[in-house]
Symmetry: D2
Subunit: 351 residues, 4 copies
Amino acid sequence: MNAIPSNNIRVGILGASGYTGSELIRLLAQHPQVTMSLLTGDRAAGKKLGAVFPHLAHLKLPTLIKVEDADWSGLDVVFCALPHGTTQEVIARLPRNLKVVDLSADFRLYDLETYATWYGHAHKAPELQKEAVYGLTEIERPAVKAARLVANPGCYPTSAQLPLIPLIEAKQIELDDIIIDAKSGMTGAGRAAKEEMLYSEVAEGIHAYGVAKHRHAPEIEQGLSKAAGRPILVNFTPHLMPMNRGILSTIYVRLANGAKAADLRATLEKRYADEPFVHVVAEGVSPATRHVRGSNRVLIGVFADRVPGRVILLCVEDNLVKGASGQAIQNMNLMTGLPETTGLMQEALFP
Amino acid sequence: MNAIPSNNIRVGILGASGYTGSELIRLLAQHPQVTMSLLTGDRAAGKKLGAVFPHLAHLKLPTLIKVEDADWSGLDVVFCALPHGTTQEVIARLPRNLKVVDLSADFRLYDLETYATWYGHAHKAPELQKEAVYGLTEIERPAVKAARLVANPGCYPTSAQLPLIPLIEAKQIELDDIIIDAKSGMTGAGRAAKEEMLYSEVAEGIHAYGVAKHRHAPEIEQGLSKAAGRPILVNFTPHLMPMNRGILSTIYVRLANGAKAADLRATLEKRYADEPFVHVVAEGVSPATRHVRGSNRVLIGVFADRVPGRVILLCVEDNLVKGASGQAIQNMNLMTGLPETTGLMQEALFP
Amino acid sequence: MNAIPSNNIRVGILGASGYTGSELIRLLAQHPQVTMSLLTGDRAAGKKLGAVFPHLAHLKLPTLIKVEDADWSGLDVVFCALPHGTTQEVIARLPRNLKVVDLSADFRLYDLETYATWYGHAHKAPELQKEAVYGLTEIERPAVKAARLVANPGCYPTSAQLPLIPLIEAKQIELDDIIIDAKSGMTGAGRAAKEEMLYSEVAEGIHAYGVAKHRHAPEIEQGLSKAAGRPILVNFTPHLMPMNRGILSTIYVRLANGAKAADLRATLEKRYADEPFVHVVAEGVSPATRHVRGSNRVLIGVFADRVPGRVILLCVEDNLVKGASGQAIQNMNLMTGLPETTGLMQEALFP
Amino acid sequence: MNAIPSNNIRVGILGASGYTGSELIRLLAQHPQVTMSLLTGDRAAGKKLGAVFPHLAHLKLPTLIKVEDADWSGLDVVFCALPHGTTQEVIARLPRNLKVVDLSADFRLYDLETYATWYGHAHKAPELQKEAVYGLTEIERPAVKAARLVANPGCYPTSAQLPLIPLIEAKQIELDDIIIDAKSGMTGAGRAAKEEMLYSEVAEGIHAYGVAKHRHAPEIEQGLSKAAGRPILVNFTPHLMPMNRGILSTIYVRLANGAKAADLRATLEKRYADEPFVHVVAEGVSPATRHVRGSNRVLIGVFADRVPGRVILLCVEDNLVKGASGQAIQNMNLMTGLPETTGLMQEALFP
């Protein structure tokens, strides 16, 4: 595993006491080129990592400190896994020689007005925003390679855009009739102690939330609009359900320009043929979240509907891996010139 | 509870060793007017009920027998909770004086050709089919009251039709743009021992199944088409997820004839204002399956989408209660002249 | 269900926004002799019950108020479902004509020093403590009938004492070799928002907690010591696991005075033969928590071990029903002269 | 990950369509020295692995075949993950040059009479049994290194013996007062389609099974007796609960020879100080199964009880990894002269 001892990339993880933070550590512990040199966690400052994440207690890692106590010298890359809205000022103060992958939503929206509308306050680092590259790796690979600051995509947007963007670019689907019904596991909601996230409030049930107002809608629309060359609105309805990890996006589209379901399948198969992490499953197969649990893979299914002209796309990912920390490492690999899959080839954990 | 000892309706339950059978028994044990006089279970014949359902072991009930050994004399009502496709011949042989509520799919489709197409064989009791009344109680109450044979609706069709039919009748939605994304608990798949239903295959995951070919699609379309006065096709995509009970149908519709989301809400509120079991929740509230667990209630939510002209309907039920055995008893109450809610007012079990 | 309109007992529920509060409401809504006239919930004061428990939104109940705003006149019975340690002063201020069932731990320990040791502060209502009757119904029935203030037992102590007390009284087990390994669902830990109770921290795992220091140990020991006529210490190790409801106590005992496993079984069968809620299951049957979910029943199994002289007792209950609110209502029925089972005969919800 | 291409150990996996088979494949896919050259699966013969385990579909692996069609030439090691009782004859027919790790129970019991008593038939390969080494790695490392045939331990016995054997060897606990209360996830019960393993029969519940007659009892006793130098009987009570992976053994012991809880802790800490996979957690920490999910690690906790002379040991493992396939690979590493941890350093997947 860690057979190659040339640990030559020194990384810091800001916000190591949350789920995306611990997932970065889980994966980077297997990465042969990385040393984790800095971990921050504001409420947990002064504690060892094992106190907040017992499953990582055996790793030899630095004690958690506050962000303001960080020594940035000697670092090569910083992962920001801080809460939305708190990251802009932190990143703005970082030395310019550091490469940064931000897992929050703070730099994902190119348009500052859209940001202000959805996040309720003016952007606090508008100059940096211009520099940020949206890190949906398979779509933005060249830009990611050249980036200093990558805005790592949201979990829902990753699962929605990967199947849709190639179809929009191929002009095979109607732009104004896209419905994304997404089902997410609970880690997507973070680790903050809230009543509605207690086991007893979640187990044995499902409900939609953020209906018609979830902040991932404009992020999805930004990517799809870029692919289409004109603004697109989508219906996006997320649901929370009793599982730890995983997102299934069931996407309803309408065929355009004479395309058939088989054409959509062909477009996606071609687009992702050489991708190590994105796979189109065989015809008739319905991808399941449990089959990507813990892995960086994305599975996409394509079904013709009984309703003429309609197609159903199914896309699954692990929200903490390809939907967050795995994709962040995939981006880091590209930004630092490493093979893209380094440290990311773990198989899914099933059952 | 059983304070009123006037047990004057004698019922038989065919298929008492499955989940809809045990749910009938659970509910009827609280019904003040019912005596359970006959229980069948072919593989479990000769056993006491407690051997197949330990939670009901304390009830004083007859031993399970085979259907062919049943003595029908003295019975008033028979519930058929037998597997799909096996029920037609059984019911055809029953004495004509018995009232019958069939929980299988065998008599739900009025059109014999549609039945043959979806179920793979010619209907075996076409004469009886003419007599069968589709028992979606709130929609077909007068017919149910007069019926001898009620075809109890499927679990998905109940949750899809209750919100849609009033809107179709009010001509407030487009008929050719209806998408039903349904999420179901595992009891909806029955109690047969299949690998894909094992705990370890189901927990911590979600997947779609029967995509574009689930047998509940024509059942839903039959009800909506009747309301519309012309044939309707719908997209219906069911999903299986790790919970025991519950269905959430997230339904995407397009507004018609100048209607707004508030008009749809008003239509549903008016239609169900006096219903004991169907409630439209307040604006902004997202109904959750856990809030109807074990109860006969249905909750409906209405949300305007960000996409102009689109509305999202959310409908939850317990698939074993309003989606099966509860509605069956509701229908029996009507067929026998009892108050409709008798034995059905238990509250949901949350958490 | 509510067919008998003679609602002649007026009850108040203090702490209606927690799980034992909502469970009282769920059950009392089916109780033919009860009117819920007062609901308090300090943080939720001013809200309707449906805002904190949507599954009960349809009930016609008073708005939640603060305890200090309560009007006690006209009430007959008060259920206290307040946090431990806060109840003594509240109950001390109640009018003496009210009957009280306290679901907290505040009046369960007869010995004031033991209370102070385990709860970290002196008892605040020592005079009232003298009056309190420990409400383990099947054991203390006569005292409960005569009581004004009942201290409702804890969830773990109920499942531990019901199988052990008859065996101790029969002198069939060693007093100094009792090990209670208990597994509990998450509602036992309450509804407070704590990180360790989040879905993602609980699902797919199990762990022991409060090892050798859980506050239910002295409560169990009090009951067993009373039965034995001398002090007893027990090993009590509780575990938290991913289920909403249920406790399984696996109890390891050593035979005494020549008794055999069959003798223990006979003692328990005889003791509980006429009890409506406590059942000894058949030889070889292993009781499961799922078979008492939502019901007030307790199931007890008895197994001879391979190790000579050792017996394994298995006891299951629903921690929110027989372990809390159901037993509270059972006690109220006795205190008010009603049949003990009134409102409590609902079957378990399985699956 | 697979950076080192020197795949010089060619392995076959018999029974690749079960959970221990798929877990071997998941882990071996990360092993830098292994090529999987042969996969068998009798019912799935002729299928690609992805048809039975979609999460492994992307791996380039041979098609599943029947055992009788296997070509053993060119193989170095065979893992047998076949059902109990079917393995003896298969292994007896294997070429003698193959090293074998058997994950079934077929060669675990040294005493042929004990085997016959517990498994209901005479052993079918008694000569081979003499050669088999019990592969509890940390205890039997030298013998494993020299073995041709390793009987890989059962999941429960691994979690019971690792904490107990050092304490027995140190004569710090009473030999005749050992109680093992074990809680297991559902993969421990295998992938066969049985009613009692359906999601709806398992979720939201817990129960004991195999009380006083589980086949892992004699396996545990064999190991403890060897450590003690005389026969030992234990109480072993396993429970099934709703999680996919994980075993927690809560073990109740009585101190001997003046030892204290701190002495037991010291013994275990010393014994496992240099072990890569077995860790004694800090005082006061209660190990949780979720913290070893997917990893080969074992965590052991030690607590003094309130009952004088009693100690509680807590031991967690992932039943599919250290309890089966992970330990099997650990043993293979030793048998083939590789570093013991090769391919096994993946972190736990939490949440």
